[in-house]
């Protein structure tokens, strides 16, 4: 429920994939397909000359190096910084404030997340249907949303689990005086099935 930019993730993967595909296919074609191989050989001479003349023409006086190369380095640095920012933005989104109620210009009320989180968890832990629970608060499109995550015992119906959590949420609405948007996540954690019954004789 975090603020990860999923479209950006997929875009990066797509672009890398496309690049690899194109470069890989081109390289394989260059050695395998005779037509491509010959074309490659023929043009490589021209390309070398062209690039050499570019580097010559763009020489910075006094330094003896082409500014193209410096620009390339600058671009690489910018790219690296952008990628680092990209990595750091994965998976944020927690928030400490559940709601703000500006009563008037004489004062306001701020309800921190731990109020709802603590009240809900305390009520949920009392139910035997759940092995555990965890409540957190995220900001989704600038709205604080509660994430109520419950772990059910084996065999508990998802309908029952959802109903219990919803009744707690209704109680919270009544107690708080405001309805907070919420996500209920019902999980189990009992993937390994026991296939043999232990016989007690």
């Amino acid at each position: 429920m975090n603020s990860t930019n999923r479209a950006a993730n997929r875009l990066l993967i797509f672009v890398c994939g496309l690049l690899l595909l194109v470069v890989g296919a081109a390289a394989a074609a260059a050695v395998l397909v005779p037509f491509v191989r010959d074309a490659w050989k023929d043009t490589s001479g021209q390309v070398t000359d062209q690039v050499a003349s570019w580097l010559e023409q763009t020489q910075l006086s006094g330094l003896g190096v082409s500014w193209i190369l410096i620009a390339v380095v600058a671009l690489l640095v910018i790219a690296i910084i952008a990628l680092i920012v990209f990595i750091s933005r994965q998976g944020r989104g927690h928030t400490g404030i559940a709601l703000t109620d500006p009563t008037s210009e004489h004062g306001s009320t701020v309800i921190e997340s731990s109020v709802a989180e603590h009240a809900l968890k305390d009520a949920l832990d009392a139910h035997s249907e759940f092995v555990g629970s965890h409540v957190s608060t995220y900001k989704v499109r600038r709205t604080p949303v509660l994430k109520v995550s419950v772990t059910c015992r084996r065999g508990v119906s998802p309908k029952d689990a959802a109903a219990i959590v919803e009744s707690k949420l209704h109680a919270l609405d009544e107690l708080l005086g405001r309805e907070l948007p919420a996500l209920i996540q019902i999980s189990g954690g009992f993937r390994a099935r026991v296939t043999k019954t232990t016989r007690l004789q």
Binding site: H106, T109, I111, E112, S114, D122, A171, G177
Partner: protein, 126 residues
């Protein structure tokens, strides 16, 4: 301590009582704790100036009944003073009135930050 002896203006006084910020803190904490049913030691107070008058930010837990009680008993929220938002709003007014009465300071803004809950065991509601 009567109100008259602590106000700054007023023809009858011959002196001025200055309330230190530490004392102000204590008063605000006590008033808040009383209003919301928590321990004064757990109330945090920040004082700031707001164009000449005081602006208070009070960070405090609040005493509540468990959500299970709220589900089963329709009137428990009303009996315990209303919803959390109601009580916090009421506390703002109470804090402003009583603190200014006790210390004579003019209070422009009171922000109540409810930082946590103290869940009451299943006994009588305060």
């Amino acid at each position: 301590m009567s109100i008259a002896s602590t106000t700054e203006t007023g023809a009858a006084q011959r002196g001025r009582t200055r309330v230190t910020s530490k004392a102000l803190n204590k008063v605000v904490s006590a008033v808040t704790a009383d209003a919301l049913g928590v321990d004064a030691a757990r109330v945090g107070v920040e004082l700031a100036d707001h164009t000449g008058a005081l602006a208070l930010v009070v960070t405090t837990p609040i005493r509540i009944v468990s959500l299970d009680r709220v589900s089963t008993d329709n009137s428990v929220v009303a009996r315990s003073g209303g919803t959390i938002l109601d009580r916090a709003g009421q506390a703002q007014t109470t804090i402003r009135d009583r603190v200014s009465a006790l210390t004579g300071s003019e209070i422009a803004r009171v922000t109540v930050k409810v930082s946590g809950v103290t869940i009451q065991p299943e006994e009588r509601v305060k």
